[in-house]
């Protein structure tokens, strides 16, 4: 079997298309989250996704249809708790995250214990992604990337200096809401790729790798997207040939790029 023969399989093609779209999406959003020191919001929202999917399974509904609105609501709740209740952002993430997980566990228990479906969402299985989910990933990715393109200057300015952005007449609370809502949608999409446990890696690793050598924000975003796509390609190929879990392999490929960028910076300068 030659090196690219695995591309002939339909499930691999679907995994590559969905994986590439979602990876680019997460890398770009993740850059803004990392720069705003909100990296762990991905983790928190992933835990809310767990609860939301459990809710969907409990009522026999399509889990993503339940997860998207619930996780967007969770992201809004994180913002509001940190704004209004005088709770630090990381503590607000912790609160919503814990409630999400606890809700999921309760529902799983009420339904008679963990079933296989819920377990598969924890660790992801991009190779089992359906055509509908691929189409959903493409449409939502394009929508989210389009929103980032249209609000690029606002998101950039608010990330660099939120106070100045406000004095420029930008409505930063709306920008923050937009950013976390887009993150919520991306997190739900990523569940299929790497699973709930590893989602934050897709958001954080490509961004921090690109930041090791970036010379402008635009270049950093391009580099992060590049690392993310390469990691998906490498991860799917390696997992196919070495019979490894795909989500974890994608994350390890991302981590390898980060390690290489660190070493390069350390020994060759950047």
């Amino acid at each position: 079997m030659d090196i690219v023969s695995f591309l002939q399989f339909t499930f691999i093609q679907r995994a590559l298309v969905a994986g590439i779209f979602i990876a680019v999406l997460c890398a770009i959003l993740g850059m803004f989250l990392v720069l705003r020191r909100m990296s762990l919001i991905g983790d928190g929202l992933a835990h809310v996704t767990f609860g939301a999917i459990a809710l969907g399974l409990f009522f026999g509904m399509y889990p993503f249809a339940v997860a998207v609105p619930l996780v967007v609501a969770g992201s809004y709740l994180i913002l509001k708790i940190s704004e209004k209740a005088k709770v630090y952002g990381d503590a607000a993430i912790g609160i919503v995250s814990a409630v999400g997980i606890a809700g999921g566990i309760l529902l799983a228990s009420l339904s008679g214990g963990f079933n296989v479906d819920l377990f598969s969402y924890l660790f992801g299985n991009i190779l089992a992604i359906s055509s509908t989910e691929v189409a959903l990933s493409i449409v939502l990715s394009i929508t989210v990337l389009g929103a980032i393109y249209l609000f690029y200057q606002e998101i950039f300015a608010a990330a660099f200096d939120e106070e100045f952005a406000r004095v420029s007449g930008l409505r930063t609370s709306r920008i923050n809401t937009l950013l976390v809502s887009l993150t919520a949608v991306s997190v739900v999409l990523s569940v299929r790729v790497v699973g709930i446990m590893l989602i934050s890696a897709l958001l954080i690793l490509p961004a921090v790798t690109a930041l090791q050598h970036a010379r402008s924000l635009a270049r950093a975003l391009l580099a992060a997207a590049g690392y993310a796509v390469l990691s998906v390609l490498l991860g799917i190929a390696l997992s196919f040939y070495a019979d490894l879990p795909t989500g974890a392999t994608i994350v390890m490929a991302n981590a390898a790029f980060f390690g290489t960028a660190l070493l390069y910076k350390r020994f060759a300068g950047s």
């Binding site: 990392v34 200057q153 300015a157 200096d161 106070e163 100045f164 420029s168 010379r215």
Partner: protein, 252 residues
Amino acid sequence: MSKETVLETRGLTVSYNGNPVLNKVSVPVAAGDYIGLVGPNGAGKTTFIRAVLGLVSPLSGSIELFGKPLTAFSDWRRVGYLPQRQSFINPLFPATVREVVGHGLLSCKTWPRRISSGDMLRIRDTLVMLDIADLKDELVATLSGGQQQRVLLARALVSSPDLLVLDEPSTALDPQIRESFYDLIHGLNVDRSMTIILITHDTSTIGRYANKLLYLDKRVVFYGSFKEFCTSEDMGEYFGGFTQHLICHQHG
């Protein structure tokens, strides 16, 4: 013809967690004024300008910018702001000088906001005026404190504001650069009739450049010309003659 009122606060009161920080501050600022805002630590100087810029909500009182209530004011192009410290700059943020100065133009734009080639010319001209054109492609996070200060000043000036608010701008500057920095601000006030509000602990700067002194200590202690301050018997009583003399003669 009377000058346009750029800013007017009436009975402005601000409190944090129930503790009053500003108490019934009423200050009119006319176009072309250069106001030195002084007062002890914790006097509410920064809170005053944060309230004026809409960053802090007042408990009571009113604020008008260019004749409009702050809540209805939207022409933020007319206001430039240089914050107190550059410490908010994330050392990992890969923003170039050009990109950051471009943020100063977002107040001139409607959605979807884009930086055009015409904007790039304005950015270049502003960088040239501040003598930092050679830094245009450098990352802001890697610059020295003084260079960062000039980049942030460029960001405040690129929209050609009518009111420039500076919060202790000279803390990161060495004496020589500080001198040229204040000369530049003075030039903007004289040549372009730009209204300046400058928070500083350096009363020599106020004595030399500002035409008005606003002394805050949670309330307005004094608002008038520097000369009036120095000859005011009330201020002599308030500060004690020796302290008043020290404030007035620091500028030599």
